[in-house]
Amino acid sequence: MPSAPPASVSDTLALLGRGSYVADRSLATAVHLALSLKRPLFLEGEAGTGKTEVAKVLAEVLGRKLIRLQCYEGLDVASAVYEWNYARQMIEIRLAESGRESKDTVEEEIFSEKFLIERPLLLALKPDLAGPPVLLIDELDRADEPFEAYLLEVLSDFQVSIPELGTVKASAPPIVVITSNRTREIHDALKRRCFYYWIDYPSAERELAILKLKAPGTAAALSREVVAFVQKLRATPDLFKLPGIAETIDWAHALSQLDVLALTPEAINDTLGVLLKYQDDIARIQGSEAERLLSQVKAELAGAK
């Protein structure tokens, strides 16, 4: 069921909540602006902080189609925008030759929409019954600069020109969400056209709320310990890669699978690979450091009661 864009920041916050996305009001503001002013939303942040999820939730709660373009190095027009179906074109040419059609008709024929393979960017410009789709351009930092420059053109006018066919323009611009893990800086020219938001690691309170929604099977006491422990880890200065929300959720799932009811040093050591993804980080935390953090966590939780 397609629905209209929300009218205020509070509505946007409620909207995201309906898709079980626990957002800060600040994020809701950025989303609200992007929706109402029809400009792309640029989300940057560490891996596993819920950037991609924003687009998915938006598509779901607004009842729009989600079109996803995963970026990678060397991503080009042929795989991002459109490509001609060469095999079919070849066959068509052969058939036409036996039918003795004029060359111009053949050309017109084989460069028609029938032979066009639409890729995500072009698809997103096509009208959709449910309303303009949500276009998720994921991990733009993985694509190279030439693609970024091309994207600039598409996102400013929401049109794509195909030399053989003409220009395709979106009647209503799609909702664009761009994410980046910041493995390189995206050019300012592109960011300038978007509403920018840095998704940070959540506060303990918010993380607990997220965990309740995403891992409902976890015991409340365990959830609290898990969140407190992860927050402690994020405060540890010399970790190379801090655990994101995705890792917290995975960890909660893993612990419930193993029927752990309360965190113990052994349980942490056994499952640390879910939380930390670098060997040096694991080696640093495993054992005595984990025990130390855990005792701090337990003391704090006991004090809070």
Binding site: A30, H32, L33, I93, V106, R182, D188, Y196
Partner: protein
Amino acid sequence: MEGASSPREGGQLLANLMYFARALRAAGLPVGPGQVLNAVEAVRQVGIENRADFYWALHAVFVNRRDQHDIFDQAFHIFWRNPKLLEKMMGLLLPSLSVADPEAQEMNRRLAEALAEGQPGKTREAEQEQEFDAAMSFSEREVLRRMDFEQMSNAEMARAREAVRRLALVLAESPTRRFAVNPRGARIDMRATLRAQLRSGGIIALKRKNRVSRPPPLVVLCDISGSMSRYTRLFLHFIHAVARDRGRVHAFLFGTRLTNITRHLHTRDVDEALDRVAASVEDWSGGTRIGKSLAAFNRRWSRRVLGQGAVVLFISDGLDRDGGAGLAREMERLHKSCRRLIWLNPLLRYAGFAPKSLGMRAILPHVDEFRPVHNLESLEALAEALKRAGPRRLDAAQHWRPELEKRAG
């Protein structure tokens, strides 16, 4: 919800938004007129009833990077309480250009020369120097090439800088995943083939394409501690020359802390660029904390600048105040995150060099190449080496292993 306040009030808000944008620009945020218009639109959407919404609406428009957040935050809170206050604050906050470099005077050489032009005595001197420069014979040039930077007089240093600036650094290209039309290419370009086929008809002439290659990103990490001070200025000239004609060069200086100077290097004038660098660095000619600085680099920057197969030039004498504490680990991390890690060490010029200090011994097992960098010749050799693909990984470590083991044993 539309900001339907009276036109007079709206006008005031508009003017204030403009002043706010101007204040942000003065504080160093890249704010253009387009963004001011966006801000007006955004504020109209969100309204000004809720201060937090107002804040985040402006934030979404004006802030493009995470590191701009703090500036924005401060500016916002000061400005929207009292716009006048901010101007005064800025006057106090602007960095005063205090430079601990003894050669700071020389940094403004060009400026000084430009000012002194009216004075006849000075000009003559400059002319004389120029004549002398032109008269430098081949053998003199050879001597200069081999002369240690450390032993150069100021005039020789100036000439060496000139030479460094002319040094062309061409990196061995690495293949990308992009293709371009190439008659001898390995792959068939179907699109071009079909178009050609339509034009000619009959026989299908295959058009070809091939992979495009391009130079990888270059990251320079340069030690500016006291023990390196004789070399520092020359290396800065070198880094500026390298960054000048090329995208994807990132440069960092470290002594006791890490400073990113990439942005300053985009200034074309070398003296001006170096002035800016000098103003942004706070730990000139102090001690060295290599491990700590590298840890900062690894955590804050490595994922952002080392993508896509970067080549890293690590310029340091390896003398570490912390005695190499935690250095090996960070060095290993750095090495694993880049395509090629080259350690340039001015101390390597001595024939009997042995990696004695704890710092060096921590670094050496994790670098691909270990090269001297003390005269023009060694810089030329570096340029030559960068043109070719790198050696096997950890070649330097293999070569120096007996030395390291002897010391350890």
